[in-house]
Structures are given as C-alpha cells and as structure tokens.
C-alpha cells in the first residue's frame, strides 16, 4: 500500500511548477523531422504487431494481448513482489525476456491500424510494460538491502525485520533509458543528512 500511496503525496509537490509554465507554450507543430521519426517508429511497431495475424498459423498458436498481460502480471506478482530475493529476481528476469519474445512472435492483434483499435492500444502498452518490468526487476536485483516497502529476504535481522544497508545504498537514483534492449544507466544522488540521526523504524517497542 505504501508503494501505491507515495505517489499521491509526492506528485502534487513536485510536478506542478513544471507543468504551470506549459500554459504559456503555444501550439507545437507536428511538421518537424522529430515528429515524422516518432510517427514512423510507432507505425513500424504497429505493423509488426499486425504481422502475426496475417501469416498462416496453426490453431492455438496465437494468443490475445490479455493472455500475455496476465502472464507478465503473474511473473511480477510471484517473483518481484514486496518480498523478493536474488534467486526469484534472476528467475523473473529470464522469464520476462522469454515472454517478451513469445509475445512478439505469437500475439494476435485483430482489426487494422487505421481504425479505432483498443486491442492495438493494449498491445502497444504491453510492449512498454515488458521494458518496465525488466527495469523494475533489474533495479530490485541491484538493491540488495531491504528498504521501504520492499523486503529482500537475504537482508533481514535475526528476528525477521528489514535490514537496511546505509553503507552502500543511501542515495536516491534514477535509471536512464539507453534504447531498447540496452541496460539502463544508473544516476545516483547521495543522501547526506546533517541535522537528523539516521534510525530504523521499529513497531515492536
């Protein structure tokens, strides 16, 4: 729950200053090479998604977008949940790659590109989710401590409480996208506390 609710509190304090200025920005032209390039790349993705439905296939060879969405959700739920460890995360990383391959080869998107097509919308979104799932898993693998709402089972105290590793992980970080299939780059900003003493929450006494 903490994982879900944090965004609710953080977003209104962080984003609006940036968004407010946008009100003075005029209409942005679509008549630019960047726009053409983006349009072209989306179209290519769409065409690739349509291909499976066009080739000759055996019955039961193709699956719906929902089929793959549920399969991805199940991997995340089982192996990248609130409680995770190196073994489960490594397993998840392989499974996500396999499922993504399978998705691109066997997903069936009915309809066409030009008309209103919610299945296509779902497929494009799911294609992004694979990337996001892989990043979440890579990030969870990278952070070997138990911190916040997440519990690395290898990192716990004798009586089963979360064990942080302030020596190695006292920073906030962001991963920079490096293109499809490329590992993201980690950018760190150390957390230096001057006036407070670092402590651990304890609900027992």
């Amino acid at each position: 729950m903490q994982g879900l609710a944090d965004g609710y509190f953080v977003l209104p304090y962080t984003l609006q200053n940036y968004l407010a200025d946008q009100i003075t920005v005029g209409h942005i032209s679509t008549d630019t090479p960047e726009f053409d390039e983006a349009e072209q790349s989306v179209r290519q993705r769409e065409e690739r998604l349509m291909e499976n439905g066009k080739r000759k296939t055996e019955n039961g060879e193709l699956h719906t977008v929902d089929h793959y969405h549920k399969a991805l959700g199940k991997i995340m739920w089982e192996y990248v949940g609130m409680s995770r460890n190196e073994e489960s995360l490594t397993k998840a990383a392989t499974m996500i790659d396999e499922l993504e391959n399978e998705f691109w080869q066997h997903v069936q998107v009915p309809g066409d590109i030009e008309s209103f097509n919610p299945e296509m919308e779902k497929a494009l979104r799911l294609a992004d989710y694979f990337e996001l799932a892989r990043l979440i898993t890579a990030d969870a693998l990278h952070r070997k401590e138990s911190c916040g709402g997440h519990f690395r089972t290898e990192s716990q105290t004798e009586d089963g409480e979360t064990l942080r590793d302030d020596q190695n992980y006292m920073y906030v970080a962001a991963w920079e996208y490096q293109g499809h299939g490329q590992p993201e780059t980690l950018h760190k900003e150390p957390l230096n506390y001057e006036h407070i003493q670092i402590a651990t929450r304890n609900y027992k006494n």
């Binding site: 209104p12 968004l19 719906t64 089929h67 009915p110 008309s115 919610p118 299945e119």
Partner: protein
C-alpha cells in the same frame, strides 16, 4: 453462469449500427460486467468469430468515469450507486438475456460499438470548471476556514466522476446534473467564489452550444447517477446563474 448478450455494434459514428447476439458460458458469479466482456472478447478473437467489442474502461474501481454502458435499459445496469465496472454478474440470473447499448445523446457521438466521445464534458470543464491559483507548495490544511456544512456539500458535489450517465438517462440528454455538480462544488468553497459568476456563465453557455438538451426536472439523472449526486445541485446551478445575471461584474459578450 450462462448469458445471451445482445450488443450494439457500430463501426464508427457514420456507420449504421445493429444489435449482434453472442453467447458466453461458465461465467463466474464473482465476475464483474467488464471482465465478462473481456472473456467474450477473448473468445471472439481466439475463435475468429468477430472483431472484439469496443468498450471504454480504465480504473475498474468506480472512480475514473470511463466505463458507461446502457445495460437492460439502465445506465450502469440494474443496481444503485455503482459504475458499470462495479456491477457483478451475480446481479443477473443464470440464462439471462442482456441488452448492452452505448450512451445515446447528440452531444456524445459513437466512436465505435459501445464507445462514445464524451469530450463535450471536457469542453464544459475547460470553459470554467476550475479555479485559478498560483502553483507552488500546497497550502496547509485549514488555512482557509470552510464551514463543515459547506465542506460536506462541496465534497458531495465533487464526487461526480463525469461518466455521462445523467445525460444518457435523461430523455432530453441534458447535462444539468453534471454542470450543476461542477458549478456547485466550486461555488460552495471560498476558493471558488472569486470566479463564480464568470464560471457559471461560461459553463452553461458552453453546455448549450455543445448540443445538450434542456432540463425538465424529471430527475432520471439523480436516480441513475453512480455517485448519487443530488438534484439540489441543479437548483444551485440555477441559483448561481440568476446570481450572475444581477452581479454586473462580468464583461458583456464574453
């Protein structure tokens, strides 16, 4: 549970629509209405029967206002105070025939099948359904005192999720309950009073331009609203409208 579904199919706004009949079987009584449609679509795709049925949905927890289906002659189906995604198949009987239609209103043209274009609501909000504030840190709670009675009424009005059930239920396709809820929500609070006169004028004018019908006070909107927005908000809208007529502090022809 097994059901026979009669679903409105229409390729786009200009195409001629018709009802098509499909059967779904082995549906769990715990299934939500939209999950039942997911199962139908999976079946339609896998068995190459037809294009999947297009329907709007997003949060599936009753707060986004995207899902809106006319089910057996009632917006959001045969239950009170819920959206379509909160309707469960246990509300039906095994073997039922279910008629599923999109919202029908001039201001909400069909995009495809059960999906309608509700951007008319966005245009009404853009006309005045906001308050102008300086961005920056969020003010602390209680810096502006609001009497409990008004806070409660404003919160009740703010529950509106803009789903369009009020328009769909109304024989005139009037948007008065929606606009009433938005106007009342802001007019009841100190933050909203600064722009209250201009707001009500702009929103009502925009509503009329967009082709919504007039209100004849039958209150089908109130009966079908998934958030049970009260008709008193329509009265407050009329009152705000009359108030701005006499206020004189708005620019004419704006």
């Amino acid at each position: 549970m097994n059901f026979t579904l009669h679903i409105w199919r229409q390729e786009n706004a200009k195409a001629k629509g018709r009802f098509e009949t499909y059967k779904v079987s082995d549906i769990s009584s715990d299934c939500s209405f939209l999950e039942m449609l997911d199962i139908l679509n999976e079946q339609l795709i896998n068995d190459h029967i037809a294009h999947p049925v297009c329907f709007d949905n997003d949060c599936r927890e009753g707060i986004c206002g995207m899902c809106g289906l006319y089910i057996n002659g009632r917006p959001h189906g045969n239950d009170d105070g819920i959206t379509t995604c909160q309707l469960h198949m246990r509300k039906f009987n095994d073997g039922d025939e279910i008629w599923i239609e999109p919202w029908r209103a001039k201001a909400f043209p069909v995009i495809c099948d059960l999906v309608v274009d509700r951007s008319a609501f966005d245009k009404i909000i853009q006309a005045g359904g906001y308050i102008s504030v300086t961005t920056g840190g969020v003010p602390d709670a209680n810096t502006i005192p609001v009497a409990k009675r008004f806070a409660d009424m404003a919160m009740d009005a703010a529950e509106c999720i803009g789903c369009g059930a009020c328009v769909a239920a109304c024989k005139n396709a009037s948007a008065m309950l929606f606009v009433g809820a938005k106007v009342a929500h802001l007019a009841l609070l100190p933050q909203g009073q600064v722009e209250a006169n201009e707001r009500v004028k702009k929103m009502v004018c925009r509503m009329d331009e967009l082709g919504f019908g007039s209100c004849t006070n039958t209150y089908a909107c109130e009966a079908e609203c998934p958030k049970q927005i009260k008709r008193q908000n329509i009265a407050r809208l009329n009152r705000e409208w009359i108030k701005q007529l006499f206020s004189g502090n708005h620019k004419p022809n704006e």
